[in-house]
Symmetry: C2
């Protein structure tokens, strides 16, 4: 079977980014320049030309961007992704016959045998006009023809006996005239006239049949013709690839988690949404831009968990917020003790007033009294004895929770109802959702649900709490999750931090996966933080806030260095807020709030820390010191952290000066953004000593102004 | 838009090999086990199961192979590609509810509280049969129930008061019974009965409501149920991927090129196909399995090139065989001086008798008198003066050659005629084609043409002479070329050899690209061989024959170390056979024929050298010594070459013992297959000295028998 068009000679391959053969969308942020590379080639020595075709998915008409050749048949193009939502892109390429002709003509012209000097003379221009030829001062053997029509160069040529047979060059002029005529047939009216004029001039020159010609066309004439390529045999890449463009907060976010029920101001009293609203100014003052609340819905009573996850609740025990639903309602209701929808609206207003966004927790599981259980028992697994299957990981039983059965015959209605939970809270103003254990719900559901939400609300951000296997974590990111929790919580050694952070911030993973680094969560008190060393907490949050453009803390517990596990070997907190009210002494003089405030101030001030794209690790000759930098147009931030919370560590850096934009030799100044101290540094090797009692890290600013000065006369990357 | 089936919860990703999103076929050899890996996962903790679906493209019915999990959600399967031609494969995966149930049941059983000892007793079996329970000697607290129906284990359980509510285990038995019943509904009749029986037994056990159970099913019962999975919600990978299976010669081939017209036995007389046939026994005796002839067609007379590529031919000059076509015919005719089709048939018979295959050269370009020029001027480019465009690379002109215009409006007829050239020679018995400059012909044409040939002749092999840019070389391999020339001809240093050979023999490139290494060709006398040092030639052919499962030489010129270039800086031969007859003194005592013979003997004897899959480079502490090994089931061949043709070189090896299958400590013996010398070696570090005057290389055999002995008690890779 021959193809419909066998004359499409250009091959387009290796389009990047392309995730799983175009199955999934690459991710970018509005305002990013989206860079695409591709291998583009054809047979023989013909030139190829290519353009990127791209458009917001909502538009029909393609936009175009030019490709530049990088060498070895690899090309690149970019475009400004100037609005959030779905985009699509592909590549069109064709044999550039005119470009090939220009290239070959240059070689033909150069190869002419230069004739002996001859006197200047006069000849007729096509329009019948007559001009004096002026001697070209640069070469008195050539004669300039000024102001030829159609963008021709001040061509120079020689008049010899004209009885010689038509030269290769003259023949090439006639070929060029045909190409120009063809382009003119495709051109807009004014351009068409110009192209035709140029063609006529070429024919005129060819007819004069001179033994020597200079190159006849100027850059404008060439550029004009290249604007009207023959696309009849153009190749279009076989797939249109998807791109998803998010708003800025998808890339740069600082999360603070707290339990509204522990937000109260009176010991022993159940906190409310009003209390939570009252806490927002201090969270905002610490510089966070997202505040995240565990579920605020009615909590089941059957099999309610008691304090410290006891299987029997005492009277007055408040239960786990993740055991959602009772006779007051389910995922679209608010726990009575927390307040009303009016209170929630007030909370949202307070957030807006404090310039902080509210993230709600979506945990798709039901307490036994959840309305869904009553109305849709077929959305759950029914056991042979007629009871509904509770959550379990045999032999462990979680009888306070019913997992949803995504193989329900009624899956369409189920999906619709789950989607409606998001729609409900979006209607109440929420634009960020932290999704609980998304990896235990069907992945095709998430793909549909996230797309469905984004149809009307492309600004919504989904954070996947998926501390699960790498392929599953990445899979959830591919099908639409905006951000993801990571294994950072357990990576504490230099090598494993370097390897892991490199993996998740480097393409191709970085094209679809956006890490959000958490030193702790209500579910995870890592072994490294089960220590009385406040410096361990400080170290971990410096790492999170400077390695990750997005990071978060389970706030009060973190600030106050809550470090006692429920039992030895457990990562659960003792007296966990998950099962009881807690009172946090926010005035504790040992609180890490000042450090969090400083970190967020630095993050908010220096755009370098608001992206992972420029992250580079630098060597230090001490395994307890880790160094890495991020840069933007104006500044480089170089962070060096003492990974040993218990002892001072010192060493010599071996900086990648090119990545830093630092001169290869000579002095420069670094300023510690945590302390304000300034240090005179020199070249790649600098001595660093960090006593955790004083400071767990240097966060060093290298100003471009400083660099430019010291770079005078030096080579730099940029 | 919800999907048609939202309950297909398994994700299948990263299927390998997959070339350009399935656009191109992976390549294997008949008899290979085709290994496929994929990432396969689902939500939650449910188990998944998967099977590879594969079939020859000519068959409708899928065959299946089981996947094995390698860990971290990566799975592998393989199948025997037992016939040449097109195959297709994809993956099907599903949630394995029965497997999950078995896994969970084990955990439930293990978690039971072990009751106190109780007396053995007797109970009724489902069929009403009654058996004595025997005390299990291993644990006198358990009681064995022998010979339960349906593949149940000799289950042991305990009888206590039976008033406790139904236990989790009993409930799980009832769930299992449902799964078994469902499987029985999908099963063949006999199996269905067995599965139903097992289900009944589980229900029977559940009804006894014992407080303690042992695991009730044996491996057979489990395996039987797993044979009948519920595929209603199975996921099938979104693409069916192509595989092309070639015959053995596609991977392992030793090519010898010579010009029939120089095969004559009388100086100055034009050689014939009969002469070429007479030369075959000596080529076969050297151990080559492919003999390749430059074009044997009529040669143009207009603008015929003279000796040493002179633009003016003298009377009697024979012209270039690549300037195809004159009034005697074109690509389907034989040059009159070479003989007749009867002579060609005799040549083919001689080849068969000598167990060597004939490869013909297909060069799609025409001399001005080629019949296509007369009959189809529209298959060529017409210049504005009405003449046909000859080949040129301005300012160079090749007026003896007209290139084909693949943008001809008549491209369909053109393609058909070009295809018919292959069909014509296939009809004459040819099964291997070396294609001249395929990168100057339209790539879509090749893709169609090769596929068209293979529809009826899947055994045909195409070698691409594409010394062009890497993407183009790889592109031609992707669209179907069986083998390709490479840049080996110019890679002479250890690092560049190591890097380049690694690139072209390692996946993903090795999945579609099969290198054929040539130290020289009639077009390429590399600078490295422009030397009087015979050792340079020896070194290069040892490298080619041991690095490449396929290699070739432009024979007589190579054997006789023809090393004079047409002019300084040129890679053309002086007095090149391309433009004149040559007489080769095949009896020259300095001929490299004995070395070629030895190399081919080794290649033909040791299968390790017949594939590139196992190639590993080993370190030597001298940059002039390169070492690498290949292995098969029985032998490892370790080659060490002195890259300096002018001086002895010595050094210490640092062998990758795991790759060699050599013991980490202790002695072993290596045998030089070139000299027969044996050396006692020990561990990784061994001293090697190569004096090129004596030998440019060691080709060392490590016998598995030897290894096994010395490996006794050692760990090895296999």
């Amino acid at each position: 079977m021959k193809p419909n068009e066998g004359r499409s000679r250009v091959v387009i391959e290796e389009l990047k980014p392309e995730i799983d053969g175009g199955r999934h969308a690459a991710k970018r942020i509005a305002g990013d320049r989206m860079r695409i590379t591709a291998a583009i080639y054809t047979d023989g020595h013909d030139h190829v030309a290519a353009r990127l075709m791209y458009r917001p998915a909502s538009e029909k008409v393609w936009r175009y961007a030019e490709f530049r050749e990088l060498g070895n048949d690899v090309w690149e193009a970019d475009f400004l992704a100037d609005s959030i939502g779905a985009w699509t892109y592909t590549v069109q390429a064709w044999v550039d016959h005119f470009g090939t002709w220009v290239h070959d003509l240059h070689k033909r012209i150069d190869a002419q045998e230069k004739p002996a000097a001859a006197p200047a003379t006069v000849f007729d221009l096509p329009g019948g006009a007559e001009q004096n030829e002026a001697i070209n001062p640069a070469d008195e053997n050539t004669v300039a023809i000024q102001d030829l029509p159609g963008g021709m160069t001040p061509a120079t040529r020689r008049f010899m006996t004209s009885n010689t047979p038509q030269s290769d060059v003259a023949l090439a002029f006639r070929t060029g005239a045909i190409l120009l005529d063809q382009a003119s047939a495709r051109a807009r009216e004014g351009d068409a006239r110009t192209l035709k004029g140029t063609a006529s001039s070429l024919r005129y020159l060819a007819e004069r049949n001179s033994p020597y010609y200079d190159f006849p066309l100027n850059e404008d004439a060439i550029a004009l013709c290249l604007q009207y390529p023959d696309l009849n045999f153009a190749t279009v890449y076989e797939r249109e690839l998807p791109l998803w463009v998010d708003r800025e907060r998808a890339r740069f976010s600082s999360w603070y988690e707290f339990f509204p029920r522990s937000a109260g101001f009176v010991a022993g009293e159940h906190g409310t949404l009003r209390d939570a609203a009252a806490r927002l100014p201090e969270v905002a003052a610490m510089g966070f831009n997202v505040v995240y609340f565990p579920p605020i819905h009615p909590i089941g009573t059957a099999f309610r968990k008691g304090k410290n996850n006891s299987v029997v609740a005492e009277p007055g025990d408040v239960g786990s917020p993740w055991a959602i639903g009772n006779s007051d309602g389910g995922h679209k209701a608010i726990l009575r003790e927390l307040g009303t929808f009016a209170d929630f609206a007030a909370l949202m207003q307070a957030a807006q007033a404090n310039n902080i966004e509210v993230a709600l927790d979506v945990a798709f599981q039901c307490a036994p009294e959840h309305p869904w259980v009553r109305d849709h028992p077929d959305w759950f697994k029914i056991r042979p004895d007629g009871t509904i299957q509770y959550a379990e990981n045999p032999p462990k039983k979680y009888q306070d929770i019913y997992p949803i059965n995504f193989e329900s015959n009624d899956w369409r209605a189920l999906w619709q109802e789950l989607y409606s939970v998001f729609a409900f809270w979006i209607d109440k103003g929420v634009r960020i959702f932290r999704v609980d254990n998304p990896h235990t719900k069907a992945i095709p559901f998430w793909e549909w649900c996230i797309a469905e939400v984004r149809k009307t609300h492309p600004e919504v951000i989904f954070l996947a709490e998926a501390f699960t296997r790498p392929h599953v974590m990445y899979g959830l990111a591919k099908i639409g999750y905006t951000q993801s929790y990571t294994y950072f919580s357990w990576r504490t050694e230099k090598k494993e931090l370097t390897d892991y952070i490199t993996e998740i911030t480097t393409t191709p993973v970085a094209d679809f996966f956006r890490p959000n680094l958490w030193p702790n969560t209500p579910d995870i008190l890592p072994g490294f933080l089960q220590t009385e060393l406040r410096t361990a907490f400080a170290q971990r949050v410096v790492l999170a806030a400077t390695l990750g453009a997005s990071y978060g803390v389970y706030g009060p517990a973190f600030e106050l260095c809550d470090h006692l596990p429920a039992k030895p070997g457990s990562e659960e907190y003792l007296d966990s807020e998950k099962y009881q009210l807690r009172i946090w002494n926010r005035d504790d003089p040992n609180s890490l709030a000042p450090l969090l405030t400083a970190l967020n101030r630095i993050r908010n001030t220096y755009a370098a820390l608001q992206t992972n794209e420029t992250l580079r690790f630098h060597a230090v000759d001490n395994d307890k010191l880790i160094a890495y930098s991020k840069s933007d147009g104006d500044h480089t931030v170089l962070t060096i952290v003492n990974l040993d919370p218990g002892a001072p560590q010192a060493g010599w850096t071996e900086l990648d000066l090119l990545a830093l934009g630092v001169p290869f030799t000579g002095a420069y100044e670094v300023e510690d953004l945590l302390t304000g101290a300034k240090y005179p540094w020199n070249g790649s090797h600098n001595y660093v000593a960090l006593d955790p009692e004083k400071s767990v890290a240097h966060i060093l600013l290298l100003r471009r102004a400083t660099l430019s000065e010291s770079l005078a006369g030096e080579s730099t990357e940029d």
